[in-house]
């Protein structure tokens, strides 16, 4: 809970508010401190007495979903200032391999778990089919991991900052073919939080970022029930968010997109229309996802290199988008960033939520 509080205090202060201004709280879930009422546990710990609170659970889509829900609460007039807080110390708070073992229980208990499914194996099934279909090579996916490590090297709080090469990714330990260790996200301790306020409750001088639109897409939970291993709900999710925000794919200056594995980012980037099918990896290899590239992506290093702390992993993407749009990302700053897309993916490309964030003028 102390991680949650540190993130909450940071977000409340950054919003120019006091804890007593917060009248809505959305929390998520924790592996190390599991509780059926985590939002209430957090509020008790911090001494908050909100008028509305609940926990949100949609795996890696949790952070984006909670932000969208918080926006709906303030738009509906139910709350003035909603704190969305996530955190977990799943690196130090679990035995080695503990997070992976708990995550494997996301597989279907009768029709997947008896076969030894793991989250990496499930994404590997997607990667194998994707590479077969589009002729993509492991080196193409590796380029995504290399790009993001380069971004993490510029972030003082990133979990892994040592630069890596394509060869390092290719030579890293095989986890589940074709995915290798450096194709996989980290297990980290961390927390992140944001506050959403209705425009009428924000002072004119405040340096706020607007949520311009959100969308969701859902096709399945278990990978064995996915209607396709090539097309997922991220397409619908992004399309809805773009339509609601009234912007186009080509308008996005910076993208912070869920990257549990290199294949995850490739599939999402292509489904959302940023690249043609099979082209995200080769584009990454050509520098397209770099800070000066066609689409600066995961500028903090993402789950692959900045860190992954459960629901907070997805919230790191939200926070980085806010930092980019507030033009305070330091050496990672994307020039003239005005419009950002943030995307979360829960399960095995199962639950998707997209957010479009923009600077307020």
């Amino acid at each position: 809970m102390s991680l949650h509080v540190a993130a909450a205090q940071g977000a409340i202060t950054d919003a120019g508010l006091k804890p007593s201004d917060i009248d809505g709280v959305l929390a998520a879930f924790s592996f190390t401190q599991p509780h059926m009422m985590l939002a209430s546990v957090f509020c008790e710990y911090m001494g908050l007495k909100p008028g509305f609170t609940t926990a949100v659970q949609s795996g890696g889509a949790t952070a984006c979903t909670a932000v969208a829900l918080a926006a709906a609460l303030v738009e509906a007039g139910m709350c003035k200032h909603v704190l969305v807080v996530t955190g977990d110390n799943r690196l130090s708070g679990l035995p080695p391999g503990g997070a992976a073992a708990m995550l494997a229980q996301f597989g279907h208990p009768e029709f997947e778990q008896p076969y030894g499914i793991s989250i990496p194996a499930a994404y590997a099934l997607v990667a194998q089919r994707y590479m077969h279909e589009y002729g993509v090579l492991p080196e193409h996916l590796a380029a995504i991991a290399v790009t993001q490590r380069g971004h993490a090297a510029l972030h003082p709080h990133a979990h892994m900052r040592e630069p890596i090469t394509i060869a390092d990714v290719m030579n890293s330990r095989i986890i589940s073919t074709p995915l290798k260790l450096l194709d996989c996200c980290l297990v980290s301790d961390g927390a992140a939080a944001v506050v959403l306020s209705a425009p009428e409750n924000v002072s004119a001088s405040a340096d706020g970022i607007a949520l311009l639109g959100s969308g969701q897409g859902h096709t399945h939970e278990h990978i064995s029930s996915a209607p396709s291993l090539l097309d997922f709900g991220c397409a619908q999710s992004a399309e809805q968010a773009f339509a609601r925000a009234g912007v186009a794919v080509s308008d996005i200056d910076v993208a912070e997109i869920y990257d549990s594995f290199t294949i995850t980012l490739a599939v999402e980037l292509e489904s959302m229309g940023f690249f043609s099918k099979g082209e995200a990896g080769p584009a990454a290899a050509a520098g397209a996802l770099g800070l000066k590239g066609q689409l600066p992506c995961n500028t903090h290093g993402g789950l692959l290199s900045y860190g992954h702390s459960g629901a907070a992993g997805g919230m790191f993407h939200v926070v980085e988008a806010v930092n980019q749009l507030k033009h305070r990302a330091g050496p990672r700053q994307v020039d003239d960033a005005e419009l950002a897309l943030v995307h979360g993916d829960g399960g095995i490309l199962s639950a998707h939520c997209s957010l479009i964030l923009g600077r307020v003028h």
Binding site: G97, A101, A104, P114, S118, A124
Partner: protein, 140 residues
């Protein structure tokens, strides 16, 4: 809740799936087809996912299919599978039109490729329940 699972997960039949698992113990693979709209579905459940009808019929599969995708698992998340690595996890498209997850087993399993023909066999699980698995058909 903090302890990793150390035993191989056993399929625990529910009222939705008891008939399916009993058939596995007779070396028969069953699937459901909707009596109303003819949609074929897997895993077994009480509602058709297309027309929402509750009239679902059990049918016996010929147990022949094709590998849609596969992965060779070198690092098991559940330590109970440590002794089995590397093992092959696959999604199999059965000829009747449904997809299921299995392992590809047998001496040749590491030669699995997308598109390879397989047949479903039944393997005794440590729990006593028989589990459908896939074995590669000889190359034509």
């Amino acid at each position: 809740m903090n302890k990793p699972v150390m035993h191989k997960p056993a399929p625990l039949p529910t009222s939705d799936t008891a008939e399916y698992w009993q058939a596995c113990n007779r070396d028969e693979l069953l699937y459901q087809r909707c009596d109303n709209c003819s949609h074929v579905q897997f895993y077994p459940r009480r509602i058709c996912t297309v027309c929402q009808s509750n009239d679902l019929g059990w049918h016996r599969s010929a147990q022949k299919g094709t590998i849609h995708s596969f992965t060779v698992v070198h690092r098991a998340a559940n330590r109970a599978f440590d002794a089995d690595v590397p093992f092959v996890l696959a999604l199999i498209d059965l000829d009747e039109g449904f997809r299921m997850m299995t392992n590809v087993i047998g001496e040749e399993c590491r030669t699995a490729t997308i598109g390879r023909r397989v047949r479903v066999v039944f393997e005794q699980h440590s729990s006593g329940q028989k589990l459908p698995q896939a074995i590669l058909e000889p190359l034509a």
